[in-house]
Amino acid sequence: MTESALLRLRGVVKKFSAFTALHGVDLDIHEGEFFTIVGPSGSGKSTLIRLLVGMDEVTSGEIHLRDQRIDQTPANLRPTCMVFQSLALFPHMSVGQNIEFPLKLRKEPAEKRRDRALELLDLLRLPRDYYHKRISQCSGGERQRVALARALAFDPEILFFDEPLSALDYRLRKTLEKELKDLHHRTGKTFVYITHSLEEAMVMSDRIAIMNGGRFEQIAVADDIYGKPVSRFVAEFMGEVNLFEVTSEDGKTLSAPGLTVNTTQDGLPANGKGLLMIRPEYVQFASATDRFDYLVEGQVQEEYALGSRIQYEIKGPQEDLITIEKLRENRLENAVGQHVRLGFNADHIHLIGEA
């Protein structure tokens, strides 16, 4: 793995006087990957991306791009490019001049610059006559595409994104997420994206890194981050989740207050404590005769319509409410106040080996 990595970080530390924003981060990003770094604000993801593009200096540690160490190289000499949160389109230049800016810096002839700019407008599905438009005449979505075109004109080894979609409305964001994923396929470039939105990360990424408190909590493919989180933080960050505090006497038999366990399961160390995780979509309403590996009883507190799905909050034996989600066609009639039996099976649970 390590030899083939395009970008390698080893023990990267960033301190701002007394505050340590990054505590020795290691990371490998591979060629052609769509890699997303997700974390809440203050987790260090913005600090990290600024180090990667060269706008801040590392306090210690090393960053390598292919065979070259780049952590001491200033931003203007690195073969990487970033799409800024604010997009940073130059307001005093036309769309065409914006896209050609990196080519002009390389002193490419005007003809060639123009051809490339028009090609990029095609690639991003912007009409060619946008070449003459002013930035102020473009809509939010068009500006995104211009910013992308400009970054692609630079032809970077890695294209970085600093939450460029966060200011857009929901529908446009959804459209552009898919376009970005599509663009990644068509260009074959390496994309490194940071966001605080789990959904954005899930839709687009090959691999996701979850950041918290200046460290990576977990780096894995999207399905594993969602289905096999390594900590309570990751589990809760990645959407709705039910966590039961469980103990294990022998590493095979789990027990938790109020939870009926009809199976044995590996995963927790002997005499270990941990968390049993089950996502809301895998919990079923159980009749008296249904057989499930795990059963728990409770009372429905609240019902929320989420569009195609209905979400129920159920007061169970533990302090946290149990959340379950059903498709609208499987809606429970007169749900609020009902006493219900909930069941789920061993192949849908995940055990987190920490208290």
Partner: protein
């Protein structure tokens, strides 16, 4: 939002006051400058352009205009250059003594100009420099450059620092960034700072009084003539001074407008 009745009344009174205290006096100076009589008295019996002819023929007036113009132009150029870099230091870059700089630069503005003029005169004397219009340039700069800096700084606060970072990220070095990004974006601020600098210098009296030595600027001469030996040239030169600054502002606005029109058409045909 439509103005309420009371707001309209207040605005009307305000308008009357502006006209009564700002424009009417100026008009009366205008009348005085075209009256044949040596002293202004209404109604004016005979109109004449004699004083303008006299003024244009007089070598004193030429010297006055030339001195005032030299001081104002040099002050404008230097202020704009100082303001460009000063505004970046003020608003853009984080450096150790930035807050101290931001406060210190404001001090000359709050200093009474007469005191500042006196202090500078004493300072030039102790350095053994004989005051001329060149020392007045220095004195004007002490007061005007900070104002110009503030005007440009407001503009500098207004643009996204990510623009410069983006340019650097795409391979631009510092000189290229200044030329291609920072300068064009600060240009409106620089133009207004330049206009302010010119007008403040052109009309300045207290600083010039202390620091021009044997030379004299227009405002100084107007004052001197009012104190000792009124001349009918006083209103004439006063009007010429107002017209001069008006023409220069119009010329600057025209140039700015032409530059913009030129750029638009370049974008369009690009």
């Amino acid at each position: 939002m439509p103005a309420s009745r009371s707001t309209r009344i207040v605005l009307f009174i305000y308008g009357l006051l502006v006209i009564g205290f700002l424009y009417l006096p100026l008009v009366s100076v205008g009348f005085a400058s075209v009256s044949r009589a040596r002293y202004l008295s209404f109604p004016i019996k005979r109109y004449s352009s004699k004083w303008y002819a006299d003024a244009l023929a007089s070598s004193t007036v030429k010297d006055l205009l030339w001195t005032s113009l030299s001081v104002a132009v040099i002050v404008t150029i230097i202020s704009v250059v100082i303001a460009f870099f000063g505004a970046l230091a003020f608003a853009r870059y984080n450096w150790r003594y930035r807050t101290a700089f931001q406060k210190l630069i404001l001090l000359p503005i709050f200093f009474p100009q007469t005191v500042l003029g006196l202090a500078l005169l004493m300072w030039f004397n102790s350095l053994g420099i004989i005051p001329t219009w060149k020392t007045a340039v220095v004195a004007h700069l002490v007061w005007i450059a900070p104002i110009a800096t503030l005007i440009v700084a407001i503009r500098a606060y207004g643009f996204d620092p990510a623009l410069e970072e983006a340019a650097r990220d795409m391979g631009a070095g510092t000189p290229t960034i200044l030329r291609e990004i920072t300068l064009p974006l600060l240009m409106p601020g620089l133009v207004s700072a330049g206009l302010f600098a010119f007008l403040l210098s052109w009309g300045n009296f207290p600083l010039s009084l202390f620091t021009t030595g044997a030379d004299s600027t227009l405002p100084e001469w107007l004052y001197a003539k009012m104190v000792s030996g009124y001349s009918p040239l006083v209103p004439t030169l006063g009007i010429m001074s107002v017209v001069g600054s008006f023409v220069i502002i119009m010329a600057a606005l025209c140039v700015a407008w032409m530059l913009r029109a030129n750029k638009e058409s370049k974008i369009a045909q690009h």
